[in-house]
């Protein structure tokens, strides 16, 4: 029954001789084939990485290379955590602490500033917002890396997590995103009404704005977490090899065991697990957030 009612409206189109050719959104065989190829190319390196992580080194060095998984994953992962001088476990813990702290920090900072820019009036607002947008175009962390490092040396913060976390909190994109989101999700009348009722600005932010922009906060949180988890240059410089992030630990693993493919691949496999989980659980939000953000730009 359901299948019939489901198909009924669709059926006439493909069979109607002329219309199907004219339909600009019809997927041709060529479209489907090239999409299939694109998806294969997207997925294959990840798949192959996991395959090698489940193999032995003899397999990895064989020609043609193996394409199906075997049973050595657990053993290889254990070797990663036991690998000397890689400090993989420390790396994972550090990365979790850094990524979570930065994510929470950026979401709070951006939601506060976004609310002020979108819903409050104050002198210099447009100028300040413009400066945020302009600095989005400048990769500040990479430009100022030398003095930033010296600053950390002077403060005695090198090799501490706060030296990694604090500079990452500067994120113009987050402020811009939350400004856009608040504009659309929090009607100004609502803010005015709450003010007439005698609510303070902080109260309005907490009770009116925050509940309304929660989906935007979620999108920002997901994107920030993914970004910070993958950061490489700054942690590499400011942390020492025995106190790394997961990316820096991966590099150490790669340097020291360059011929031990299965070990390195097991390491990369472990390193993507958190983002894989984010992707599986929040895939819809990631796509939605990206697509919404793109249209607003």
């Amino acid at each position: 029954m359901t299948t019939i009612t489901h198909r009924a409206p669709r059926a006439p189109r493909p069979t109607g001789a002329g219309t199907s050719r004219l339909d600009p959104f019809r997927a041709t065989v060529l479209t489907k084939a090239s999409l299939g190829l694109a998806i294969f190319l997207s997925i294959f390196p990840i798949y192959w990485m996991i395959v090698i992580a489940t193999r032995t080194n003899e397999d990895a060095h064989s020609m043609p290379p193996p394409l199906l998984p075997a049973g050595n994953l657990g053993e290889n992962i254990r070797a990663v955590f036991e690998a000397e001088n890689a400090h993989f476990m420390t790396g994972i813990i550090n990365s979790i602490i850094i990524a979570c702290t930065v994510t929470i920090g950026i979401v709070i900072i951006s939601t506060l500033a976004g609310f002020a820019f979108a819903s409050l009036t104050f002198r210099g607002r447009n100028l300040l917002l413009l400066s945020v947008v302009l600095t989005m175009m400048v990769p500040l962390q990479q430009m100022g890396i030398v003095p930033l490092y010296q600053m950390m040396v002077t403060l005695g913060w090198t090799n501490t997590l706060k030296a990694v976390i604090l500079p990452f909190l500067v994120n113009g994109f987050g402020v811009f995103l939350m400004t856009q989101y608040t504009r659309q999700a929090v009607p100004r009348e609502l803010v005015e009404a709450a003010r007439v009722d005698g609510a303070s600005t902080l109260r309005i932010w907490w009770n009116v704005a925050v509940p309304a922009v929660r989906p935007g906060m979620a999108v920002l949180a997901i994107q920030t977490f993914m970004l910070i988890w993958n950061e490489f240059l700054w942690p590499l410089i400011v942390l020492t090899p025995d106190n790394p992030t997961v990316q820096v630990a991966l590099r150490a693993l790669n340097d020291r065991y360059s011929t031990n493919y299965v070990l390195i691949f097991a390491g990369t496999t472990v390193s993507i697990i958190p983002l894989l989980l984010v992707f599986v659980f929040f895939g819809r939000q990631i796509i939605g957030g990206l697509m919404e953000g793109a249209v607003k730009e």
Binding site: T28, I109, L140, M143, P147, M151, D197, T201, I272, L275
Partner: protein, 324 residues
Amino acid sequence: MSLSVDAGSRTRTVPPGPRRHARPPGGRRFWSWLDLRATPYLFVSPYFILFAIFGVFPLIFTAWVSLHDWQLAGDKTFIGMENYTELLADDKFWNSVLNTVGIFVIATVPQLLLALLLANALNKKLRGRLVLRLSVLAPLITSVVAVAVVFTQLYGRDYGLVNWVLGAFGVDPIHWQNEKWSSWIAIATMIDWRWTGYNAIIYLAAMQTIPKDLYEAAAIDGASPRRQFWGITVPLLKPTIIFTVIVSTIGGFTLFAEPVMFGAGLMTGGTTGQFQTVAMFIVKEGFRDFQYGYAAAAAWILFLLIMITALINFAIVRGIGRSR
């Protein structure tokens, strides 16, 4: 999404109302005046304070450092523009600029073209759209380091999958790290693999805002899908395309992790620097050779290069906005 938003805000705003009104307004006037005036600044201040400390200050200080012969131990002598003149005559620096721009071009042009085509394909009537989009985005979950590790193995001379596939067509094994062209291609594919899907999703979002009847009218007039794509889709996507060009420019000019990992974790970028980028040059000078002043000067020149490119892009964006 919007439904839950409305429900949330309405239920939250009602309670404070009556209770607040009951209070005498007397001394509160000053506080509410202060609240109205000062709180907005308080709200934006966390961002701007952090921005001043970790964004603006290092940038200005970089300029100061770049005017000195500044060593690790803190020995510094003011030498004016000497770092800059030395840098502009340094073949190794220009080599790194050439590598950066070269990799940027051979990575970005095919990437954005492929992303456009991919977005167009994703915009067709297809089943399982979410799964399709997620699979295209899947490379984003891998870190740059992981990508570089996997691709470096794929491009391995002796056991690499790429050479094996090429070997099936009779091509001799290529040592991808050895030559400029081959290392550029290898690094460019790492960038493209990671970002093509992302850009395709951005384009797809913009494509979906194009009214469908435009296409239907064109189809009735006999325009082929290919002509519709180049005649309707691409022109209307221009602002989005420029946005992605700007983002790719910044990413491309600061390219670091891929070439570092491709070259066994070293900052030299191959035996003769065939894939050393400017970011690697800066880190090598500053943090391996401890020539802070020299590295800072290189950072400023890189900054200027990015600013010029960004300004050109910005002008194009504005130009397009006006002509509409």
